[in-house]
């Protein structure tokens, strides 16, 4: 095969990088956690090593290739020192644009970061050292997720196509400052290809020997008697991307953690959590006030959950110990704000004082597969909710940070998530998930007038987590904004020929479904002088199906479930006599069922439709069939009424 060669003027030699070094006096302190010593202007890549690559003619050039990645972890009694070396080659302008900033993650409570080298060798061989003043330290957490994780954003300088970037840093974890058992996980596979991945772990004493697990097929690991582990993998392809995917479930990860059992993790967190519960009078009084006059446990549960979810606002307080330890419940109550841990603790404390016992549950919001949690570590979990069983035997799981979901179902974003209940002898499990995350009920009245107009009276009720998400979007909007939202939604789903007038109900009530209703008139839609042939798409069902269909054929699809019920009446007026309706439908497949019945009563045709496709995991190789089923529902779901023109006499 004819080949051409892309060659840099400088080359990289593995094993010659500087080892992690202690912070020196002349280092620049960028942040309380981050120091900078990457001032060297000379290349750290010795010229003796050839880093040229051969690209076959016509072969696609990757935007970015990780030429080399090495994690060197040293475990001792007081510290965990991790040296990270990354060498990237930029193959395209797109690669330069998308991957030109390097991120280094760390825990702000326990980690000290030192950046030793951060430079670019451009396509001409010139060296560009990153300016430390351009580095930003940013929080990495997202809403409702507890952690004290941050990252240093390092913008590479002088990048061009063909350039090589080298970033070397150390992360030193002070185990005395660490709130719990140490552990870490890293993606072994990236969205870009890697040529070589090395993971080296060493420990100073057998008692510090960690537990580890690699999920990468071609990772080769060797453990020595002298307290070290050496793992190497080469030629690692990029992992494929696909929508609706929990990447923590599907991308191979290397997990290493202090040797602990799930019981150890439970006991550790139980101790932290219980420290926040208080017998403060304000808790007792509030619990009594909220439950006053309520007879059933469910009513009390609903009242207290509603109080915590809606009257105590969410504020993330995740620095230091607060990353895991809730604030005292009396403090949270007094402040009327808190994060997920604070709200969970307050919920449990208030409920405890009215005789309802519930327990905290650690949640991994980005995982749905318990089988992937091979090594017990706290690092998987990033959220906290509460679960418990009432005396009626029914289990409830409540997310105190969700003011839009009632007690009848768990917040949609954590349904089915991997969780560790901090109770009994629990091990990682999955949180309950609704059979149907999308619940829709439609009531449609269509009247055909003598002049050929169509009068439409419509109503939609949204339930399940779908209803909750709409309620969340609509909450706080003005009447005008609500109208605009509904009109746009109607235009997208039904028709943009008209602007209906909408009414709303249940936006601020978590115990009821959200209801939207409207009236609208389509003028000159039919010819009253001819026989009637009227057909109507199931627009709202089609809109839902469009959202639930997936193009992902790489990974299994966690389909959330859709239930749709509709009653449509078509009044054809006295000028037509109904002589034909579409066929009754009874379609059943392994994905769900679709039913429709027509009932003619004089000049009115009632069309009753139901669609039910429960939540399930669709295997990647079955996604095409699933999409085909959804296509069929859309294509065959048209309702039809035909009528003969009555004699005028």
């Amino acid at each position: 095969m004819k080949a051409r060669t892309i060659c840099w003027s400088t080359c990289l030699g593995t094993g010659l990088f500087l080892a992690a070094s202690a912070v020196r006096a002349d280092d620049l302190q960028l942040d309380e956690n981050v120091t900078w010593s990457a001032f060297a202007q000379e290349s750290v890549i010795p010229a003796s090593v050839d880093l040229s690559i051969e690209v076959a003619d016509g072969a696609e050039i990757d935007n970015l290739v990780v030429r080399f990645r090495r994690m060197d972890i040293k475990l001792s009694a007081d510290t965990v020192e991790t040296s990270v070396t990354r060498v990237y080659r930029y193959g395209t302008l797109e690669g330069v644009r998308d991957y030109g900033n390097i991120r280094t993650y760390f825990d702000a409570t326990s980690d000290a970061v030192n950046v030793q080298h951060a430079m670019v060798v451009d396509s001409k061989g010139d060296i560009h050292v990153v300016e430390p003043g351009t580095v930003q330290i940013l929080p990495s957490d997202t809403f409702n997720v507890f952690s004290d994780s941050r990252y240093a954003l390092i913008p590479l300088k002088g990048l061009d196509v063909g350039a090589t970037a080298i970033v070397i840093n150390t992360i030193t974890t002070d185990r005395n400052n660490d709130i719990g058992p140490w552990g870490m996980s890293l993606y072994e596979q990236y969205a870009v290809p890697q040529e070589r991945l090395e993971i080296q772990i060493s420990w100073t004493s057998p008692k510090f020997r960690p537990e580890w697990h690699s999920q990468l097929d071609n990772m080769s690991c060797t453990e020595s008697d002298r307290g070290s582990l050496s793992c190497v993998a080469t030629g690692i392809p990029a992992y494929p991307t696909g929508e609706n995917t929990y990447y923590d479930d599907v991308v191979p990860q290397f997990v290493v953690a202090e040797k602990k059992s799930w019981a150890d993790i439970r006991v550790w967190y139980q101790r932290l959590f219980e420290s926040a519960l208080s017998a403060d009078g304000s808790i007792v009084d509030t619990a009594a006030r909220l439950s006053d006059g309520l007879e059933s446990e469910t009513k009390i549960l609903e009242a207290i959950h509603n109080f915590v979810a809606t009257k105590v606002r969410y504020v993330g307080l995740e620095h230091g110990d607060s990353a895991y330890v809730p604030h005292p419940t009396s403090t949270t109550l007094g402040r009327r704000y808190g994060d997920c841990k604070d709200k969970a603790a307050l919920l449990i404390d208030l409920l405890h004082h009215v005789g309802i016992e519930m327990s905290p549950v650690l949640v991994s919001t980005t995982r749905r597969e318990t089988g992937k949690l091979v090594v017990p570590t706290r690092n998987y979990f990033d959220h906290l909710i509460v679960c418990g069983t009432l005396s009626n035997g029914r289990e409830y799981c409540l997310d105190g940070t969700d003011p839009y979901t009632g007690i009848e179902s768990l917040s949609g974003w954590v349904q089915g998530a991997v969780a560790l209940p901090i109770v009994g002898d629990s091990t990682p499990t999955r949180l309950p998930a609704s059979r149907y995350a999308w619940v829709m009920r439609e009531d449609l009245g269509l009247t055909l007038t003598e002049t050929g107009d169509l009068q439409e009276r419509g109503g939609m009720e949204y339930g399940g987590t779908y209803g909750t998400s709409i309620r969340r979007n609509l909450s706080g909007l003005s009447s005008e904004e609500l109208q605009d939202w509904a009109v746009k939604d109607y235009h997208g789903a039904v028709s943009d020929l008209v602007d209906p007038s909408f009414r709303f109900a249940g936006i601020d009530e978590t115990g009821t479904d959200l209801a939207v209703s409207w009236d609208v008139m389509y003028t000159d839609l039919l010819l009253p002088s001819e026989d009637l042939d009227y057909s109507e798409r199931s627009s709202w069902l089609n809109q839902a199906i469009n959202s639930l269909r997936t193009e992902n054929d790489v990974y299994d699809y966690r389909y959330p479930g859709l239930q749709y019920e509709s009653v449509a009446t078509v009044d054809v007026n006295s000028i037509w006599e109904v002589d034909y309706t579409g066929p009754d439908i009874d379609m059943q497949s392994r994905f769900g069922e679709f039913r429709r019945i027509y009932d003619i009563n004089g000049q009115t045709v009632t069309v009753t439709t139901s669609f039910a496709a429960p939540a399930t995991v669709i295997k990647a190789d079955d996604v095409a069939h699933f999409n085909r089923f959804m296509d069929i529902i859309q294509e065959e779901g048209k309702l039809r009424v035909m009528g003969a023109l009555r004699d005028v006499d």
Partner: protein, 324 residues
């Protein structure tokens, strides 16, 4: 249609000539051209036919001659009504093929029976009373009758034979699979009493045609692309109700078990005087953009036979399947 036209023309000629002879020999006030219009009256033609036959009868009696077998006026009138009845039913509610045969047969009998008397009369008249021309016409009419009736019968038989030949008559055996090679559908035969016939016998647009155990039991297959199942079903209902207005139709749409093949089913049933009970079954299968339809039907006057044949029709229609 050829026989129908011949027989109809025959009526016009017979009426004109008979009326013309009567005008010349009996009543100059008779206007033959008025009588020509009689067939246009449909079943009401029985009235002038009865009048004309009665005129001939009375003439025979007055002459007191033995003129052979002269048709009774009442019989002629009834023949006219019976002849027009199927034609009337054809318009209202009936199947095309079998009724056409009935109509042709009756119309062929009519001129023979009615002309017989006139021919006998003319043959026995003397020169003093009648002109040569009518006699000559009678002779020619006899020839015409022979050509039109006796030659028509072989032609009729020939046509039926030809029709069967054109059907192809491929006997089907149980388990035989019929269908375009490598295509997406096939018909699996479960009943041995069916015959595959050439396309064009039962429908102009079919892809496969079959005859059942009798002439009134048949099936037709249509293959199309990009057609909506609902459109096929509504068209089929409309198509059936055009000929069978009192038919009761039921439509359902399902998925074939363990598949994503859409199955639309139309079933129309009813009963009429000529055919007895009838059933039409349409099965429409759709896989993405391909649609194939089988329409199968039978009609039976005997209710027990109908149940049996309906079962066969249903079974044959169920033999349509998609190749996965």
């Amino acid at each position: 249609m050829l026989f129908l036209a011949t027989a109809t023309l025959y009526q016009f000629v017979w009426l004109y000539r008979t009326a013309e002879d009567l005008r010349k020999s009996r009543d100059p006030s008779i206007t033959p051209w008025h009588w020509v219009a009689a067939p246009l009256l449909g079943p009401l033609m029985a009235v002038p036919a009865h009048y004309l036959a009665g005129y001939l009868k009375s003439w025979q009696v007055e002459e007191d001659r033995e003129v052979g077998h002269l048709a009774e006026p009442v019989l002629v009138a009834m023949m006219i009504i019976v002849a027009y009845l199927p034609l009337f039913m054809l318009v209202v509610d009936t199947a095309v093929i079998s009724t056409t045969v009935v109509v042709i047969t009756l119309l062929l009998c009519l001129p023979y029976l009615t002309l017989q008397g006139q021919l006998n009369l003319n043959k026995d008249k003397g020169k003093d009373q009648y002109l040569d021309k009518p006699r000559s016409f009678a002779r020619h009419q006899m020839i015409g009758m022979v050509v039109g009736v006796f030659l028509a019968v072989p032609l009729y038989i020939y046509t039926l034979t030809d029709m069967w030949e054109r059907r192809g008559s491929t006997e089907l055996v149980e388990g035989k699979v019929i269908g375009p090679e490598g295509d997406f559908f096939q018909i699996r035969v479960g009943d041995t009493e069916w015959t595959q016939v050439n396309t064009g016998n039962l429908s102009d647009e079919s892809d496969f045609e079959f005859l059942g155990p009798d002439e009134w039991t048949w099936a037709v297959v249509y293959d199309s692309t990009g057609t909506d199942v609902d459109d096929v079903m509504s068209y089929r209902v409309e198509n059936i109700k055009e000929d069978y207005r009192s038919a009761t139709c039921k439509q359902t749409k399902t998925l074939l078990p363990d598949s994503l093949i859409v199955l639309g089913t139309v079933e129309c049933t009813g009963r009429n005087i000529l055919e007895g009970s009838y059933i039409f079954i349409s099965r429409v299968l759709r896989d993405k953009s391909r649609v194939v339809e089988i329409v199968a039907s039978t009609s039976q006057s005997d209710l027990n036979a109908y149940e049996d044949y309906a079962l066969r029709v249903r079974s044959f229609a169920n033999g349509l399947e998609l190749v996965q």
